[in-house]
C-alpha cells in the first residue's frame, strides 16, 4: 500500500470517532482534524512503527481574519524513516484560542509553540513554559494577527532615552 493511503487508513482505524479531512496539494498530504484529537494523533504518528514521524519541523498558524474559526494551527512533521512530509491542520476559534500542546511528543515544539503564542496569541494547554519568545515580555499585542498594523502601535515598544 502506498504510504499516503497507509496513513489515511491507520488514522481512520485508530481514531474512529474523529472526522479527518484529507487533501492533497502538490503531492503533499494534509490532514485536517478537530483540535480535541491533536495530541493523541501526534503521539500516534510519532510512535507507530510504520510511520515514525520523529521530526516536528514547524508549528505555525494562519489568521483568516473574518472566518468563523479565525485561526488554523498548522503542524509540519517529517518521517525520516519514510522520507515523507505531512501537514496537520486544526481550527481554533478566537473566543477560546487554546489548543493542546504537543511538546510532550516533540521537545522542539516547545519553542515553536511559544512563537505561535507570541505572534498569534494562541495558547497551548499544558505547555511547560508559555512565554513570549521574540517580543519583549511586557508587549501586549500579537503582531502577526491581521488586525495588527504593520508599523506597530506607537508607544507599545519602549525605546531607551536619548
Amino acid at each position: 500500500m502506498e504510504l499516503k493511503e497507509l496513513i489515511q487508513q491507520k488514522l481512520k482505524d485508530n481514531f474512529t470517532e474523529a472526522s479527518f479531512e484529507f487533501s492533497e496539494f502538490r503531492n503533499e498530504l494534509s490532514v485536517k482534524l478537530n483540535k480535541k484529537y491533536i495530541l493523541q494523533v501526534c503521539k500516534f504518528l510519532k510512535e507507530n512503527s510504520d510511520l515514525e514521524f520523529l521530526l516536528c519541523e514547524d508549528i505555525t498558524a494562519v489568521d483568516w481574519a473574518t472566518r468563523k474559526n479565525r485561526f488554523t494551527v498548522v503542524y509540519h512533521i517529517f518521517s525520516i524513516k519514510n522520507n515523507f512530509r505531512l501537514v496537520l491542520k486544526s481550527d481554533v476559534d478566537e473566543s477560546e484560542s487554546i489548543i493542546d500542546s504537543v511538546s510532550s511528543v516533540w521537545k522542539t515544539s516547545d519553542w515553536q509553540e511559544r512563537e505561535c503564542y507570541d505572534m498569534y496569541g494562541i495558547r497551548f494547554n499544558n505547555h511547560p513554559d508559555l512565554r513570549r519568545i521574540y517580543m519583549p515580555e511586557e508587549f501586549e499585542y500579537h503582531p502577526l494577527r491581521k488586525d495588527f498594523p504593520l508599523m506597530g502601535i506607537p508607544g507599545s515598544l519602549p525605546l531607551p532615552k536619548k
Binding site: 521574540y134 517580543m135 504593520l150 508599523m151 506597530g152 502601535i153 515598544l157 525605546l159 531607551p160 536619548k162
Partner: protein, 173 residues
Amino acid sequence: MGLEAKLNGDGFFVTKIEAIINWARKNSVYPMPMGISCCAIEMMASADPKYDIARFGSEVMRFTPRQCDLMIVAGTVTYKMSHVVKKIYDQMPDPKWVIAMGACTSTGGMYRSYSVVQGIDQFLPVDVYVAGCPPRPDNLLNALIHIQDKIGKTRPKDFQNLKLPELNVIQNN
C-alpha cells in the same frame, strides 16, 4: 633617520596641547564593533588586508566598550536590541562617536515594520550615516575619515558642555 639624523642637539617643536591631543586621538580611534547583522560582514571586510582599516589606526576592534571611542552600529536594530545598544554605548568613555552603518541602522531600511527601530538616531547621537545595503568597506573607511575630520575639529569646550553633535550624511558615491 631622516629628520632625526639632521638634528644636532635635542630637538623640540611648539604646538598647542589641543592640536597634539586631537592628532593622537584621531589616528587611534578604537572601534566598538556593534555587529548586529549582515552589515557586520562588510565591517569585518574593512579590517582585512585588502581594505585594511589599520591604515587609519583603527584596527583595534575592542570587544569591550570600556576601551572604545567609536561605536560602529552595523546592522538592523530592533526595539528589543535597542536597549542593549544603548547600554553598551553608555558604557563607553567620553568622548565617543557613533557611525550608523547601513540603511537599516540609519533609517530602518527595508524593514519598515513594527519590530525595527526606524533609525537609531531616535535614541543615539549619530555622527556619520553610511548609505548602502550593505555599504562597501571603502564606504565605511570614508565614514571613518569623516569621523577623523570631526575629531580633528573638536575643542576642549565641546566636552565641557556636552550636547548632540551635528549630523553628517554621506552619500554612497
